[in-house]
Amino acid sequence: MGIFPFLVVAWIMVAGLYGIVTSRDLIHQIVCLIVVQSSTYVLLLGVGYITGGAAPYFWDIPLHTKAVDPVVQALALTDVVVEAAVTALLLSFAIQAHKRFGTLDPHELAEFKG
């Protein structure tokens, strides 16, 4: 088990990067960026896991029960919000690019000058 969750992180990240590099459409490229960022959630939650630990909520379990690290969970929450904000902005840039140049293909867009 030891390293397996981290291998998943590497896999998700490189798969997303491959998508970004080979993409022929800005919207598809943005989705691939989301895939890359998803790897960080797996990394954060994987790093903070403690074998046999409960969720860090002490509503129905006694205080001082062994629990997983709550700090990385809070960081993952931050990560999700930032991703949503970045995605919204990138999508609006894609809309403007399409309005101005009539294409979403990054190869064709590279030929235009703003």
Binding site: M1, G2, I3, F4, P5, F6, L7, V9, A10, M13, V14, L17, Y18, V21, T22, G46, V47, G48, Y49, I50, T51, A55, P56, Y57, F58, W59, L63, H64, A67, V68, D69, P70, V71, V72, Q73, A74, L77, T78, V80, V81, V82, A84, A85, V86, A88, L89, L91, S92, F93, I95, Q96, K99
Partner: protein
């Protein structure tokens, strides 16, 4: 550079990246053996200190509260930035919604989608409200609740009522709610300064624990304001994107 060359270039770079990642991962403590002391210290003290049984919320809105202000303003800035990027350009005007492919006969929204979407609006809004106001007790909080609240509005759009969606969420109102949410969070912090306490200090009565909705002092209040801000930001983002379908260069 041709696509083929690009592919080879990426393959070499990705192989290097994977090698470095694997090398780094072997140096990590194995899965399930996180040694970081910070989280354990907080786990040992957070519930007594803040009377919040949700330790993740206690971290977000109390121990790392200052970071979360910044995070909230990232979302605020993104929504504002979208309004700027997607502003009405010179030579664009709004027109009646019409199908782009005129030869295609689009099916009208089916009545089953309409009924289900409209039936879900109430429960979704309720769940969103519950999430936004229970950060202190359960796995929830303003960020999650705000997104769910926003989806209640988007369900109205899904039910084929674009005009109702626009009427329910006039931009001026949504802007005001967003400002209230963002300002409320920052204002709670500033109020502490006025009382000669550190910024975002938890100065409200902590209430009883475990699990009273009124517990945890400022944590619950901040989470609620975050819920307002997130819901408004997402409704704003979605309506900005939807309005793009109405804009055409004249």
């Amino acid at each position: 550079m041709t696509a083929r060359q690009r592919g080879w270039f990426f393959a070499v770079a990705a192989a290097g990246l994977v090698a470095c990642l694997l090398w780094a991962f072997t140096g990590l403590p194995g899965f399930g053996h996180y040694p970081g002391p910070y989280g354990q210290v907080i786990l040992g003290q957070a519930v007594q200190q803040t009377h919040a049984t949700g330790v993740v919320s206690a971290i977000n809105f109390e121990y790392r509260g200052f970071d979360t202000v910044g995070e909230e303003f990232i979302l605020f800035t993104a929504a504002a930035g979208m309004s700027v990027v997607l502003r009405m350009m010179r030579g664009e005007r709004e027109r009646q919604p019409a199908d782009e492919a005129e030869s295609r006969t689009a099916a009208p929204t089916s009545s089953s989608i309409r009924v289900v979407a409209l039936l879900l609006v109430g429960p979704t809004a309720l769940i969103g409200w519950w999430f936004a106001s229970h950060a202190q007790t359960s796995p929830s909080g303003g960020f999650q609740g705000g997104v769910i609240l926003a989806s209640a509005f988007i369900l109205v759009y899904l039910s084929g009522e674009f005009l109702t969606f626009r009427r329910l969420s006039p931009v001026a109102l949504v802007d005001a709610v967003e400002a209230l949410g963002a300002g409320g969070f920052a204002g709670i912090g500033v109020a502490a300064l006025v009382m000669n306490l550190p910024y975002l200090y938890n100065y409200l009565p902590l209430g009883q624990f475990p699990g009273a909705v009124s517990s945890s002092g400022t944590i619950a209040l901040i989470s609620f304001f975050v819920g307002l801000e997130v819901a408004a930001a997402f409704v704003l983002i979605v309506s900005e994107l939807l309005e793009q379908t109405l804009l055409r260069s004249a």
